[in-house]
């Protein structure tokens, strides 16, 4: 097999260099020099690292969903050298031109150099896409074949299969856009705005109806209070309040008062102030009228005389009770003078008795002394007169008898008399105390009575009144004042009626006419608000129309997207079809269903893909490939499509990177795949990565291996051990 080196028209892969990247601890350069390449070795020795390095160095990222929620630094730095800076370099060549692309992980620096000219940053990214003619999505679709993408074509779920084919055909962008362009949301928004307008308009109508009902109710109540239709406006209100003010002023004058007119009331908001002024005027008439002025001293005099009259009777009764108490004492104990005399007599009697008791005590002491002497001395003569005593005279017993007589009888009698005299004396003292207290009470009552009589004299205007005429004089004065009060009271009652009548008129205005005018104003304001609301509703209607128009435009965009998808996918499949058909025949080798047809079919809101296999020339044998092919045959079919698409894609890269293409394939199919790859590599540079040693043997048999640069990744101990063989 003869492998042409770079054909000079498109870019081929010269080398991939990685530093501290994934499974490579230091630096490793994989040279290809524009030739076919083979990376083989067991699982986990670093083959996939090379494919990742190629993709990351060129584009700095991976397709959406490949590394969800994983930071690139965490994924790309060496497993056992966390935090070390990682970087990559890819060298491509086109004839004599050399393109060097390098990327640094931590600094995110990206450089592109062609010959002696270099670019960096966004300029370098733009230059890369322009020079290579494809972006990352096209690169992973048209240049790098990975089993994960092939496997998705075999999934049972038709939506997932469609997604996988979308990715393979580059239609995932369309799907992303179709997912987020949702005209229905805008149509719903239009409905929501219109519903809002309807709800608000309904709210206004309901409020208007309610206010009209309330106004009608208020008018009925006002008519019940004798107001007329002509009153139901601010002019009517002002007129009625003006009348009220004039009438109140006239009432004031009638009762001798002059006060300012009520403030004008042309609006309902002035009602409170006018009402307060009215009540103030009313109160002034009630309290300060001439009638009240005259009534006040009369009522005061009546109160004074009534108090004097009641006080006089009480004092008179008290004085009479004191006098009666003394008379009772006299009737029971005699005059006080007589009681005093009795007390003096009793005091004299007690003095006599005391003396007699003292004398009896002295005699008894003498007898005791005499008896003691006789018993001690036993005298023969009288100790006083010294005359001899008779022989048989028994002096001791006689003395004893005399002593006992004195103690038991005479002294007892004296004590009895004294006790009686003391009791009578105590009674006399008590009576005299009552006399004294009675006199004091009577004296005080009399003085109090005199003071009160003096007040009565002053109150009735006389110069003096006899005690027995005080009550009559007071009663006479009171009767005169009562008559006067009755006369004034009739006038005041008439005034109160006037005041009550005008107060009722004011209340009728406040509770009858004012609510009508208020409700009328409220209704007018509501109608004005309704006009303004209409403008707001027009604004919201405008929003609804905008949303509706947007919905229609987005719908048109969706349709254009679907049409574009169908057109572009069909075009890709049309271009890839012959080559895919050829490879299908070689790889699947189906004895009957030897024809493959893949179509993009438009549906209402999507584009479906159909994999149909049939016997050549017999449309009746057409079947869905998934229903008649084995998993291995389906894998081979998908690979045929991938190669067909990759070969037909228009870009400036002249190489394909095929990662592990033989999963699920049986030995004959692997052999056919090896032949297909060898055949393909005659037209462009192919780099194949595999762990399948049978496939490596088939590649050798097919003549691929002899022309390829072989990187045998023999082992991995922190960095891959690589044995490289390049053709001479």
């Amino acid at each position: 097999m003869t492998v042409p080196l770079a054909n000079g028209e498109r870019w081929r892969l010269v080398s991939i260099t990685v530093r501290q990247f994934r499974g490579v601890a230091k630096e490793r350069r994989f040279e290809f020099n524009g030739r076919p390449g083979l990376l083989h070795g067991n699982n986990g020795v670093g083959k996939s690292t090379v494919a990742l390095a190629l993709q990351w160095t060129l584009y700095g990222r991976f397709p959406e969903g490949v590394l969800p929620n994983t930071a690139y630094d965490r994924f790309l730095s060496p497993i056992h050298l966390k935090g070390k800076p990682y970087s990559g370099e890819v060298v491509l060549s086109r004839g004599r031109e050399k393109l060097v692309v390098s990327r640094d992980g931590p600094t995110k620096e990206f450089k592109l150099q062609i010959g002696s000219t270099s670019w960096s940053g966004p300029e370098a990214e733009e230059k890369r896409d322009a020079v290579l003619g494809l972006d990352m999505d096209s690169f992973v679709r048209a240049v790098v074949l990975q089993q994960s993408r092939i496997r998705a074509l075999l999934l049972d779920d038709p939506r997932e299969r469609n997604k996988a084919l979308d990715r393979l055909l580059g239609m995932d962008t369309v799907e992303h856009l179709l997912d987020v362009i949702k005209p229905r949301e805008y149509a719903k928004a239009a409905d929501a705005w219109r519903a809002k307008v309807r709800a608000e308009a309904q709210r206004y109508e309901e409020r208007e109806r309610l206010l009209a009902e309330q106004l009608e109710g208020a008018q009925q109540r006002a008519r019940g209070l004798k107001f007329l239709n002509k009153d139901f406006n601010p002019t009517g209100l002002r007129t009625r309040y003006a009348e009220l003010g004039r009438d109140l002023a006239a009432l004031g004058r009638k009762y001798g008062l002059d006060f300012p007119e009520l403030p004008p009331c042309a609006e309902t908001r002035q009602v409170g102030a006018v009402s307060r002024a009215f009540q103030k005027g009313l109160q002034a008439v009630r309290l300060s009228s001439e009638l009240r002025q005259r009534m006040s001293p009369i009522e005061k005099s009546i109160a004074t005389l009534t108090a004097l009259r009641e006080g006089w009777s009480e004092r008179l009764q008290r004085r009479d009770r004191a006098r009666e108490a003394i008379e009772n004492l006299v009737s029971r104990h005699g005059e006080e003078k007589r009681v005093l005399e009795g007390r003096a007599e009793l005091e004299g009697e007690l003095g006599d008795l005391q003396r007699q008791l003292k004398a009896a005590g002295a005699l008894r002491q003498l007898l005791e002394d005499a008896l003691a002497f006789v018993e001690r001395e036993a005298p023969r003569g009288c100790p006083v007169c010294e005359q001899p005593l008779p022989e048989r005279f028994d002096l001791g017993p006689r003395l004893q008898q005399r002593m006992e007589s004195l103690a038991s009888e005479e002294i007892a009698k004296l004590h009895g008399r004294r006790e009686k005299a003391e009791a009578r004396l105590a009674q006399a003292v008590e009576v005299l105390r009552h006399f004294k207290e009675g006199r004091v009470e009577l004296d005080e009552c009399q003085k109090d009575l005199e003071r009160h009589r003096q007040k009565a004299v002053e109150a009735t205007g006389g110069v003096g009144i006899a005690e027995n005429k005080v009550a009559a004089r007071l009663d006479e004065a009171l009767a005169k004042l009562a008559q006067e009060r009755e006369h004034l009271g009739a006038g005041i009652a008439a005034m109160e009626q006037d005041l009550e009548a005008i107060d009722l008129r004011e209340r009728a205005l406040r509770e009858g006419l004012v609510p009508v005018v208020e409700k009328r104003d409220e209704l007018a304001r509501h109608e004005q608000d309704g006009e303004k609301a209409k403008a707001l509703h027009e604004r919201d209607d405008g929003r609804a129309q905008r949303m509706e128009a947007l919905a229609a435009r987005l719908e048109a965009i969706r349709k254009a997207l679907l049409d574009a998808k169908q057109e572009l996918a069909s075009e890709s499949l049309r271009k890839a079809g012959p080559r895919a058909q050829e490879l299908y025949g070689k790889l699947v080798r189906h004895p009957v269903l030897d024809t493959l047809e893949i179509q993009a079919t438009p549906r209402a809101s999507k584009v479906d893909y159909t994999f149909t296999v049939s016997a050549k020339g017999s449309s009746a044998t057409a079947r869905d490939a998934r229903l008649v092919l084995s998993d291995g045959q389906l894998t081979a079919t998908a690979l045929a499509l991938f190669f067909g698409l990759a070969e037909s894609a228009g870009h400036e890269l002249d190489f394909l990177y095929v990662d592990d293409p033989t999963q699920n394939l049986d030995l004959p199919c692997k052999e056919a795949m090896a032949r297909a790859i060898a055949e393909l590599s005659r037209r462009r540079q192919l780099v194949v990565s595999t762990q399948d040693e049978d496939f490596v043997s088939f590649l050798e048999t097919a003549g691929f291996r002899q022309e390829a640069v072989i990187h045998h990744l023999e082992a991995w101990d922190g960095t891959p051990t690589v044995h490289t063989v390049a053709p001479a």
Binding site: E64, K532, R543, A564, K565
Partner: protein, 63 residues
């Protein structure tokens, strides 16, 4: 110009009265190119006007 963009643009241009749809498409595509799906969603969300919850203002603008 990418094939999707150019094809959609051509289809919208071919239809009458879709000038505004074309303008919106150009904004959508620019947002997608610049910020991906999230950028497109943000642009489309910016176009969407919805009455807010309890958005019943009266004529004075009071809620």
């Amino acid at each position: 110009m990418k094939p999707i963009d150019s094809t959609v643009t051509a289809k919208l241009q071919a239809q009458r009265g879709q000038a505004e749809a074309l303008a919106i498409w150009q904004m959508i595509w620019a947002a997608y190119e610049r910020e991906g799906v999230e950028g497109t969603e943000a642009y489309l969300a910016g176009l969407l006007e919805l009455p807010g919850e309890g958005d019943h203002e009266d004529v004075e603008g009071r809620p």
